[in-house]
């Protein structure tokens, strides 16, 4: 019998008083894909970071390919053939792809030969694994999907035969995710070992051979994928039954709340990102905006939220809103009844250093309800925040804890709670469940539907086609700053949306279908699998 590629024995790790990993043991056989799932903060990333030498375990042993191996730093991990794609990429933003790839793996003191060699090697890898990328592009100009490719290339360039991926699909479009899985498949066939952390059970079911479940720092179960089901895994993970599908009544749209006509936005580099968008949104309905990331969805949210300038017309409840100048800022939009859950909770939605209670009024701090004379009513805000956190099941429910100390899912809940609590006429919500565990996803989805049922208008932007399909009452697809078309979920499918997302509107030709077929091949198989099973 061959030795396991990786064997962890009794790994424990504490961050100060927090026990992130408790006596964890797993083993992964070579040539397999091993999934790890668990709630936010369960300790998945920590465990993998230990394996990669980023953190040092307090206790425990690491065995690689049957040999006990010391991994005091990443250098040692790389030498042992381990590569890791972190949840938050470790790339130098203003370096080129090539520079990032060779960083730490240069061949000599001078850069030129290393770069030349890497360029060749990269071309080779690109061909072999369909990992096409412009080697001279700056990272900051790449989409997240491409950035991830760079991370994978980094690992392959270092000839890793054990690859760890921490929530790789959280930021990818379905097509990108599918491509990633094709690559992983390829790598597995070549005999490489892969560990995959994800919150998406479908991915686990799809691609892994075995799966481990983590809860509160402990490894609670390891099962063969073939012998389990999503429902079972969800239960293992959260400790209760989880509703994996959104449960909602048909919409009862009311009056028009938002009207957008011929909206254009140009970014600071002078590139036109919105090229004449028109849409309208009624009370009591959810309009989902689908599209591959970077096709103007972010700009749409920003201009509606008041922190990007634009030209065109926006009417809110019949009132025209200014798109530039003094009256066009987040404050004014909130006054007009627009609430906004931004796409990037850490950069925009929260002040990470602020405590939860301070964040609970962020953006609404001008509201007289939060003032007491000339001062802010801190005690009142604190009380309300506590109540809000209880209601939205934010864990831990400590309003005095700084936002940065909450897990991603709970950070998201804080933002969602804040915006929903305002009882807005219109809720803009971007990527509501990015990087959030299934328990929290379920909860956030429920909240969105509930708000709709209270007769509010919701504009949902997400790159998760699943999420768009299951939540929206109407779907608009964006491509290259245009709206390519609108569909009703019950009368469309992912294939058609995929066409629109690729910018194809007329009767598709055979070639077009080929593109889409490729994009969705994997999903098709999976649907069939479900039907059969």
């Amino acid at each position: 019998m061959t030795a396991p590629a990786i064997q962890l024995k009794g790994i424990s790790k504490a961050f100060g008083p927090v026990q992130a990993n408790k006596d964890i043991s797993i083993s992964v056989m070579p040539g397999t894909i091993h999934g790890i799932i668990g709630e936010n903060g369960a300790g998945k990333s920590t465990l993998m970071s230990i394996l990669y030498g980023f953190y040092k375990a307090d206790r425990g042993e690491i065995w690689i390919k049957g040999n006990k191996t010391q991994i005091p730093d990443s250098q040692a991990a790389i030498a042992a053939g381990i590569g890791m794609v972190f949840q938050h990429f470790k790339l130098v933003e203003n370096f080129t792809v090539l520079e990032n790839i060779i960083l730490g793996a240069e061949d000599g003191r001078l850069l030129r030969p290393s770069l030349a060699k890497a360029r060749k090697e990269l071309a080779h890898l690109a061909k072999e694994y369909e990992l096409n990328i412009d080697p001279d592009a700056l990272i900051e100009n790449l989409s997240v999907g491409h950035q991830q490719r760079v991370e994978i290339l980094k690992a392959l360039y270092r000839q890793a035969d054990i690859l760890i991926l921490d929530e790789p699909t959280g930021v990818l479009t379905p097509a990108e995710a599918d491509q990633l899985f094709r690559i992983l498949d390829r790598l597995r066939e070549e005999g490489k070992t892969i560990i995959l952390i994800t919150h998406k059970l479908r991915e686990i079911m799809d691609i892994t051979n075995t799966v481990s479940v983590m809860r509160r720092g402990e490894m609670t179960a390891t099962v063969k994928t073939a012998e389990t089901s999503p429902e079972h895994l969800a239960e293992l993970m959260v400790g209760r039954k989880v509703l994996l599908r959104v449960d909602k009544k048909p919409a009862t749209p009311g009056q028009t709340v938002l009207e957008v006509e011929n909206l254009r936005v140009t970014d600071d580099k002078g590139v036109e990102r919105l090229k004449g968008i028109s849409l309208s949104l009624k009370a009591g309905e959810i309009l989902g905006i689908a599209g591959v990331a970077g096709n103007g969805q972010s700009e749409l949210l920003e201009v509606l939220g008041g922190f990007a300038n634009g030209v065109g017309t926006i009417r809110m409840n019949g009132q025209e809103l200014p798109l530039t100048g003094k009256g066009s800022n987040g404050q004014a939009r909130r006054d007009a009844g627009i609430a906004h859950v931004p796409e990037d909770r850490q950069r925009e939605g929260l002040i990470m250093e602020y405590s939860a209670w301070e964040n609970s009024v962020f953006g609404y701090h001008h509201d007289p309800a939060f003032q007491k004379g000339m001062l802010m009513d801190n005690a009142g805000i604190l009380d309300k925040a506590q109540e809000q956190m209880d209601r939205f099941d934010v864990r831990p429910p400590h309003p005095k804890l700084a936002a940065k100390n909450f897990s991603g899912g709970n950070q998201q809940k804080i933002v969602v709670a804040r915006e929903i609590e305002r009882n807005p006429d219109l809720l803009l919500i971007g990527q509501p469940t990015r990087g959030v565990d299934i328990g929290a996803i379920e909860f956030i989805h429920q909240q969105i539907v509930q708000l709709r049922d209270q007769g509010k208008a919701i504009l949902l932007v997400s790159v998760e086609l699943d999420e768009i399909m299951s939540l929206s009452d109407r779907i608009a697809v964006m491509f290259d700053g245009h709206i390519m078309g609108e569909r009703v979920p019950s009368q469309t499918d992912e294939k058609e949306l995929g066409l629109l997302m690729a910018g194809i509107t007329q009767e598709p030709t055979a070639e077009d279908w080929q593109v889409v077929d490729q994009q969705f091949a994997l999903q098709e198989e999976e649907h069939e699998g479900e039907n059969n099973g």
Binding site: R334, R347, F362, N378
Partner: protein, 364 residues
């Protein structure tokens, strides 16, 4: 969950750090052939055991409170205002103009007028760097450094050529009128048979400084403006999402900062010298940076750090008076205090945290 109890963080660590700084200072004193224990006793006796000593300690502390607060306020908005020195110089000009050209009936009115003058001029001197930072992205560190030099040149010109009484040797204004003279601690606290704070320059401005601490605390942690200021300091992108205007916040933060720096001159110019002299700021603007950083930009921390520096200044003066220890030794001691309490605090914290964690584990 904290790694160690709060009291350890705010009391124990600074104390140990101070102790380390003291030990190293003692070694330096030994090296130059003096007795550290005697020196220490002299400093404490001179600065803290006599009312007059306190009078000096608090006088210096008053300066450092103002300049420290100035740096701290800007820091909350992530602006590094190195221009406290220049702003304080201009503040002095404001005080001088207010005191010389307005016939104040009573000091209580005069101090208000002079404070307004100081704050106004100080704020004005911060306005241009602030505006350039906000609108043009000109780095505030450069512009405020430059404005320090420009302020010195301006003050030099004004004092020598305009405000200096004819025939006076000093590049200084005329003495301010009697009515603007501020009550010193001696005036305030002495009784008929017990004269306190004899000769010490501490004056009512100290209470103004304490009030400034309180006001800044309220401003930063209790008002909307403070909330926005800190939010902007932590994350510009998030501030923008919330509808906070970067330009407005930058300018306001710097205006407040400049006004606070300017108000330091109420203490030096109106309270102590009772005229504007060329050298009235004496680097207090720069000490303010150390004070703000050591005080972790919290008004209460600034107060404590300012008191510590006041003590070092006054204790150092006592050393200089009664021993042959060169005055530069005090600069070295200040450096060590800044280094250990401000920059090397983790050197103490890390092992302490481990200790407390081990103790907690032991308890559990």
């Amino acid at each position: 969950m904290d790694k160690m109890p709060q009291w350890a963080d705010v009391v124990l660590i600074p104390l140990i750090s101070l102790l380390l700084a003291a030990i190293l200072s003692a070694l330096v004193i030994l090296a130059i052939g003096e007795n550290p224990w005697a020196a220490f006793k002299l400093m404490v006796e001179g600065a803290l055991m006599r009312s007059a000593g306190w009078g000096y300690t608090l006088y210096y502390a008053t300066n450092f409170i103002f300049t420290g607060l100035a740096v701290a306020v800007a820091f909350h908005a992530r602006l590094f205002n190195i221009g406290g020195e220049g702003q304080a110089m201009l503040g002095g000009l404001g005080v001088a103009l207010a005191c010389l050209y307005v016939p104040w009936p009573h000091w209580s009115l005069a101090i208000l007028g002079a404070s307004v003058g100081a704050a106004l001029f100080g704020a004005l001197w911060a306005l241009i760097p602030a505006y350039l930072q906000a609108k043009r992205g000109s780095h505030i560190v450069i512009t405020t450094i430059m404005f320090n030099f420009i302020a010195a040149a301006l003050l030099n010109y004004v004092l020598v050529n305009i405000l200096r009484p004819v025939g006076a040797m000093d590049p200084a204004t005329a003495k301010f009128p009697e009515a603007t003279h501020l009550p010193t601690f001696r005036d305030m606290f002495s009784t008929a048979d017990n004269i306190m704070f004899r000769g010490a320059p501490a004056n009512v401005t100290f209470f103004l400084a304490l009030a400034a601490c309180l006001v800044v605390w309220v401003l930063i942690w209790r008002t909307r403006l403070g909330y926005e200021l800190r939010a902007f300091g932590h994350s510009e992108s998030a501030a923008q999402y919330a509808g906070i205007s970067p330009v407005k916040i930058t300018v306001i933060a710097m205006l407040i900062s400049g006004a606070l720096a300017g108000m330091m001159s109420v203490n030096t110019t109106m309270g102590e010298s009772e005229r504007l002299i060329l050298n009235s700021t004496e680097g207090a603007g720069f000490i303010g940076i150390a004070v703000a950083l050591m005080g972790r930009s919290h008004p209460f921390g600034v107060l404590l750090a300012a008191l510590l520096f006041g003590f070092l200044y006054q204790g150092g003066a006592e050393l200089a008076l009664w021993t042959t220890i060169p005055r530069e030794l005090i600069v070295v001691i200040q450096a060590l205090v800044i280094l250990f309490t401000g920059a090397l605090d983790n050197m103490v914290r890390m092992p302490l945290e481990k200790l407390f964690l081990a103790m907690r584990k032991g308890d559990a």
